[in-house]
Symmetry: C3
């Protein structure tokens, strides 16, 4: 898919927006953003990873975001800045396609409670249902087929795509983006056993979500049992993530796809959780912890750093042998000890 902005942008405009120094023709107009290799003659591209330096000289791009050290090797107009990847982020939105024609106003098929307080310039799409006493901040866009339960609040400039479900009593900050099929505020998984069967623990807490949070497609954030599940400011949550009841996620942390966090666990600030990471319940992860993909964490991690688990993939025949030996590891270790003593 080639992406185009209708009228495009001049390199002067883009340089200013990215805080970059322009080397070349500032009146040159670009209409798309692409990779160095795929870029056409009206596209902007970027070089962030030096491994792709070889593609720089051959690019057909109209202009390239580069760092000062690579600026001389740029065969075309250059937007020079310290962090070209950040420049890519800052300029990417210039070339984004509108997700949908968000007409301001409430679609006639939407069902909005009379007690809901809807801000200015809000768009509520077809078949969306808004409960009692809901508050929606100015400039918010609510896609089709969404549900927002009683007493929940969305700050200004929220963007909910189609078929998002927000339960009752969920407090959400400003500039939050939530993708389709995501669920915020479903019941946490709490039951007591009476010796015969499970007795449900009503989940009477809620969910509090800070500003600038993004939640990916089909992710779920459960409401608290007592007290709230809390997602800090600027937390980024990918698709297929499960956040259980009473979890707390610190500001600026990022949870990649398929992460699961069990109940009452606290994740610090600025943590990075790779895809498929699993955190057990009732543990604490310090600020600044990075967990590589599919790590299994059953105890608290009190110090920042990079942590991992798992065995890495092997040809099946070799893996089978290692798995058998893994089972024997304790006796193997004891046999080594015995040999050392003899």
């Amino acid at each position: 898919m080639t992406t185009t902005a209708n009228s495009g942008w001049t390199l002067n405009e883009l340089a200013e927006r990215a805080g970059a120094e322009l080397k070349g023709d500032g009146s040159r107009r670009v209409t798309g953003f692409s990779t160095l290799t795929d870029a056409g003659s009206d596209d902007l591209a970027f070089l962030a990873n030096p491994a792709y330096l070889k593609h720089l000289t051959a690019t057909n791009a109209a202009a390239v975001l580069v760092s000062p050290e690579h600026a001389d090797q740029c065969p075309t107009n250059a937007l020079v800045l310290k962090n070209p990847y950040l420049g890519f982020a800052l300029l990417s939105s210039c070339f984004a396609r509108t997700p949908q024609q968000a007409t301001v106003g409430i679609h006639p098929s939407a069902c909005v409670s009379e007690s809901a307080v809807i801000g200015e310039n809000v768009s509520i799409a077809a078949h969306t249902v808004i409960g009692d006493n809901v508050r929606i901040g100015d400039g918010s866009i609510i896609g089709p087929g969404c549900f927002i339960g009683d007493d929940s609040e969305l700050g200004a400039d929220a963007l909910l795509y189609a078929n998002v479900t927000i339960y009752h009593g969920v407090m959400i900050g400003e500039r939050v983006i939530i993708h389709s099929s995501a669920v915020v505020g479903g019941d946490g998984f709490g039951f007591a056993h009476d010796g015969r069967q499970w007795v449900k623990i009503a989940q009477i807490g809620g969910v509090t979500i800070g500003n600038d949070v993004e939640i990916g497609a089909s992710s779920s954030i459960d409401r608290g049992a007592l007290g709230d599940t809390i997602i800090g400011n600027d937390v980024k949550i990918d698709s297929q993530v499960q956040v259980a009841h009473n979890v707390q996620v610190g500001d600026h942390s990022a949870l990649a796809g398929c992460v699961g966090v069990a109940g009452s666990t606290k994740i610090g600030r600025g943590c990075l959780l790779g895809g498929g990471v699993g955190l057990g319940g009732h543990i604490e992860i310090a600020d600044g912890v990075t967990l590589t993909g599919m790590s299994m964490v059953t105890n608290s991690i009190p110090e920042p750093g990079v942590y991992s688990s798992g065995t890495g993939v092997l040809p099946n025949a070799q893996w089978r042998k290692s798995v058998v030996r893994f089972r024997q590891l304790d006796s193997l270790a004891k046999r080594i000890g015995k040999l050392e003593k003899s």
Copy 2:
């Protein structure tokens, strides 16, 4: 979020409901449920884990659920019972906020087939679609944006939150709770290869779900290929869980978040599967098996007990060394054997 019941409950009422012995002022009225540390002066709290005993003496709660052995240390009114956690479960619903104003009746925007049989005191919310010959039991609440396919049945007192999808031919018992974005009855993953491409195996079975089952947000339970996928009574399924075709889950088992169960596997009664556990296909798990989080199970487990897999998280540098050695485990073991013989 502070949760309040409008009028609250007297301690006499709560003691009777929980089967607890009251020590203190039975006419005292409480309006919320909270933790020992967060409780305000009108809140009920509980002490289940002795590790939190230190918080008991300092609590501001109006009353606390405690076991007989801790009753003397309770600084305020005490509801004394053997299992305070069970008491918490039993009383929690007194303080639950209504999920939504479930008005009895069918919302004008809902599409209900003329051949559907709707019980008494049923609430069907906006934009929900009910297929032909569907039967919905008395007292059921179906949230907005749900779909229930032809010939499916829901027993009495079902609670479906917004945007739940039930396919055709799904039989569901009484008092079932299903959370948003969950899908029951989607096709199992069945294909035969004709040497050139995949040929779909029509999934002509259904799903049978017992009484008192709860299914979490965004979970999926696939229909059977031939015969039904079967979920027993009182089975509790958390969010982001995948149950494949023709799986059978025994009564009273609980599957925590992100569990995946491959096709035709049988899980016994009273099993506990931690978060992220994966079960291979065509295996049998005995009654009373507990699997800790992220366990990978590829063979049947014929005996009850607690089972685990994985390596636990390590600092990345240390983990890298262990992973290299894991690959060499078989040769290391052989070298030990050789040393022992020499």
Copy 3:
């Protein structure tokens, strides 16, 4: 659930359809498909796995799909063909129940943009929303509560179940099946850090999906950051799968439940990924690679074959010992080396 086709099929009709040789009464009519053990006297069954040979002689089925080598042991009418499992697939659709009464036409409650181009014999169910410039191919069935964003295209004979979300700019081939709560085209997980907070990278690519693709319930396929996420022809994706931005999946590959694929990774043709497999980002998996369930792949796999990771499940007490020793593996290996030198 017993599944029945209203009128059923004669064995002559079925033999012709499966390319099988009939041994027995070709005018015999069967009305259902079942397993050898569950089959009633009007049912068809099949024997694919020799382990079930013992059930063949005792079956009550009206007819059985068998391979030539087992035909003599069939106690009833036999449909003889080389690959009975393929025969099962080919005939299963004869006994499938219609998923819903798909009335051709647009339900009055659906909101279809005037600029959308809807093919012939298309069914669009209640409360579905179709954006501007969407194109939907002939014979497609779109279930209730779906959303299709601006400029997206569905080829002929698409089948979307209830509550599917397709974002804008998604190109989908012919004969594609997408299950409920699935999301195609949500934003990839892309952010740059400006030293203070995350800056969103607008995901300005799209998604391109080939012909004959199936996508399971609650799965998500993210749109590309620059350029498209690409799913080849005849790719089969199970439930709860996450495919990140700019991933490419080769023709005929199959991804089982709970698989997660990180960004920009390329999966070859004819790969089989077991349940819960996780692939790191920016790697390449060769054609013909099979990964067993829950494998963790952090590096490219350049050769076809079967690969695995993980440790397999152990009784918890034994596992705890092995985990401790796994941590010590490098020092254990060095101690062996030392012993060998002494």
